[in-house]
């Protein structure tokens, strides 16, 4: 079977809208959390990395009668960008039954629903908690293949990407528009506050002073297809190939990671094996790295074991864009694809003193990639783990 490649990217984050703004933002390595716009956010730490006001999509407020909130609007904007990037005309000419959509989200259009609650009845039955983000993308494009919303919390869109690859390899779809979206949610913010898992200052994974994570909102969407299909339709480029994946579940605890890292290590090894990548071939890691106490230690130790050392550069994405929840896996994969495509690992945000238990390499200066593969980790509540290996690709 031919490679499954990423041929289009779309992204909306605290760094702005569009791939160009995102790439510039990665190199600038500057961002700051802001107070969330949700009213009545009565909690100790009500800040996150928000999409800049000037980059918020203008709508739509509804599509085909389905009311849309911030999460669906982000997904639609990122999908539009990804489709345009991948060659909108040749994608539009495809049999719509061969185009699938998968958009993961945890809280979906929470801003919409949380706005209804203090205001009284919604006045509509056209509502679903998570699925509208996928439905609005499929409806906009006219895709008639499977339309799915995998909600595996912070590893969800990583799973969505590998399910998309499975759909292509099994012949169920030729093209999948796939990614994740997350927007500010009063409920999610309040629960993380109550769990004591929210850093009051900023997201600083692997830092000595880290005190939890800090959410980021946005959407990351990709167009994926087989390399052969991309060549046949004249796709402009392939950013990277989805070369390997490893799924696992800790089956240990609702929120805490399994402390030995056995299952996340299995996922990493499986992904590398599928990709045919030796540890020395890995140019960089985009870790799960949330800033929560145990996650960062266990992930660091397991990375050192799996990669046979601690010299592989780790790109500390969440220190810049925050923890984007269900979109985090897609953000990691999209970022990894850009790093491989440009052959550069941007410099990391300076997190201050690094926790000596987190022996990962966090260079603050940009450097050329040394290796053909990028490893992406995404973990979640419930111990739902996924590792992806992306590989340099050309059409």
């Amino acid at each position: 079977m031919d490679d499954v490649v990423i041929t289009g990217l779309g992204v909306l984050s605290c760094l702005g809208s569009g791939v160009e703004a995102y790439w510039k933002g990665l190199h600038a390595a500057r961002s700051a959390p802001r107070r969330i716009p949700a009213p009545n956010a009565d909690m100790p730490h009500p800040s996150m990395y928000l999409v800049p006001d000037e980059d918020l999509p203008a709508g739509p407020a509804e599509q085909d009668g389905l009311p849309l909130g911030r999460g669906s609007q982000f997904a639609l904007e990122a999908a539009r960008q990804a489709v345009a990037d991948a060659g909108a005309d040749s994608l539009a000419a495809l049999d719509p039954a061969r185009v699938a959509v998968s958009v993961s989200t945890g809280m979906g259009d929470a801003d919409l629903h949380e706005g209804w609650r203090p205001a009284g009845p919604a006045g509509t039955d056209r509502w679903a908690p998570a699925f509208p983000a996928a439905a609005v993308v499929a409806g906009w494009f006219g895709a008639e293949g499977p339309s799915t919303s995998i909600s595996n919390a912070c590893s969800a869109s990583g799973y969505a990407l590998t399910v998309a690859a499975d759909q292509i390899r099994s012949g169920e779809a030729d093209v999948v528009i796939v990614g994740g979206t997350e927007a500010c949610s009063r409920v999610a913010m309040a629960c993380f506050n109550r769990l004591g898992a929210m850093d009051p200052e900023r997201c600083r994974p692997f830092a000595t002073g880290r005190r939890g994570t800090l959410f980021g909102e946005g959407a990351a969407v990709m167009v994926v297809e087989s390399a052969e299909h991309a060549r046949r339709r004249g796709a402009p480029r392939a950013y990277a190939a989805l070369a390997g994946s490893g799924w696992s579940c800790d089956a240990y605890h609702a929120t805490a990671p399994e402390p030995t890292g056995a299952e996340i290590g299995r996922g990493m090894r499986q992904a590398l094996e599928e990709a045919g990548a030796a540890p020395s071939d890995v140019a960089f890691v985009v870790p799960h790295g949330t800033g929560t106490e145990l996650n960062d230690v266990v992930e660091s130790e397991t990375l050192a074991t799996v990669l046979g050392g601690t010299t592989t550069p780790v790109y500390n994405l969440k220190a810049l864009v925050g923890h984007t929840g269900s979109a985090a896996g897609a953000f990691g994969a999209l970022t990894s694809a850009l790093l491989l495509h440009h052959g550069t690992v941007p410099g990391n945000v300076d997190i201050g003193e690094q926790d000596p238990r987190c022996t990962v390499s966090l260079p603050t200066a940009a450097a050329p990639t040394r290796g053909r593969f990028g490893l992406v980790n995404a973990y979640a509540f419930g111990g739902n783990n996924i590792s992806l290996v992306l590989q340099e690709a050309r059409l």
Binding site: M1, S151, G171, S245, C249
Partner: protein
């Protein structure tokens, strides 16, 4: 990864749990379940019942890293989110219970199950109105075909919607759980199967459904799905349609015509799987469930119930006319 060219899966257990009269102390145990959200309680109870008898031993005989679960839901967390939000609005986040706070995340609803039954292969939660349970089956079967696990617990769960919430008038509550295993493994231990199933989903854009071509488009796509799933083309096999009154639901209803037995849809994704479970226990023969939601998602599931006591045949014995097979291209190695 353990790639296989074809995967013949059989259903070896199923259970339906109704919310009415459900008591977690009776269904699950006196300690440890009080703070588990209702939908998680329902699904855990259904999962256990689906493995009554030899099912538990079959699970235990499978490497924990090769056991997996997929579950569909639409509104399992809605009532909890509403209650949490009310607490934040009235008293602030500090008044939230730390015991229930993790459950704001819908994927934690199968964590207790994964921990109790050591399901380390993967857990996936699909979310959509009406079709999420079918998606859970589709995703789970596809993942087993890709070699990601050998033993699958799949199903759907919902909790009741709070009064005033959109869709509350059609609220659903309860769970359906099914166990799927490789026929080869079941046959090797001399086990029996309830039957086979296969599922597909597609999307019918609401504006297409509402247009003059909507019913024809729905008919084409349903026919494609049924054919791909091995449903007999003679039109005699029973079809149950779980539909709402949306343009998408009406287009699908028109496409199916008189051949389908209509069943009203609820707000969640439970009704289609209840119908599917009924089909697997209704006597031998092929049947189908078709369901759709206003958002555009459509699910098609074909079941073939086995005769009572029928052994799970080895794959080579069922090579012809097998309805419930997930296929991977021969060169699908990654």
């Amino acid at each position: 990864m353990n790639h296989r060219n074809t995967t013949d899966l059989v259903v070896t257990g199923l259970a339906v749990v109704e919310a009415e009269g459900f008591d977690h102390r009776t269904a699950l145990g006196r300690r440890g379940y009080k703070y588990l959200p209702l939908a998680a309680q329902y699904f855990l109870a259904a999962a256990r019942r689906a493995q009554d008898g030899p099912g538990e031993a079959a699970r235990e005989a499978t490497d924990p890293r090769r056991r997996a679960a997929t579950v569909g839901t639409n509104s399992a967390a809605v009532a909890l989110h509403a209650a949490m939000d009310r607490t934040v609005l009235e008293a602030g986040a500090d008044d939230l219970s730390p015991l229930t706070a993790p459950y704001f995340s819908i994927n934690t609803y199968i964590t207790k199950l994964a921990v109790e039954q050591s399901l380390k292969g993967f857990n996936i939660t699909c979310t959509s109105p009406r079709t999420a349970g079918v998606e859970a089956l589709e995703t789970g079967v596809r993942s087993l075909a890709a070699g990601r696990a050998d033993w699958l617990l799949a199903g759907a769960t919902e909790a009741g919607l709070p009064p005033g919430a959109p869709g509350a008038a059609h609220s659903e509550a309860g769970a359906v759980a099914l166990v799927l295993e490789r026929a080869e493994a079941v046959a090797a231990r001399g086990g029996t199967a309830l039957g086979r199933l296969a599922a597909r989903t597609f999307f019918l854009p609401p504006r297409t459904a509402a247009g003059p071509d909507g019913a024809r488009r729905a008919a084409d796509r349903i026919a494609e799905a049924l054919a791909a799933l091995g449903h007999p083309e003679d039109g005699d096999a029973p079809v149950t349609a779980v539909l709402d009154d949306s343009p998408v639901g009406r287009a699908v209803a028109a496409a199916l015509g008189d051949r389908a037995r209509p069943v009203p849809a609820g707000a969640g994704c439970l009704a289609p799987l209840r119908q599917l479970a009924g089909q697997l226990t209704a006597g031998p023969g092929p049947r189908a469930v078709v369901t759709a939601a206003a958002e555009g998602n459509v699910g098609v599931c074909v079941t073939t119930a086995a005769a009572p006591g029928e052994p799970a045949a080895a794959p080579e014995e069922r090579a012809a006319g097998r309805p419930a097979t997930a296929e991977q291209p021969a060169d699908a190695g990654r």
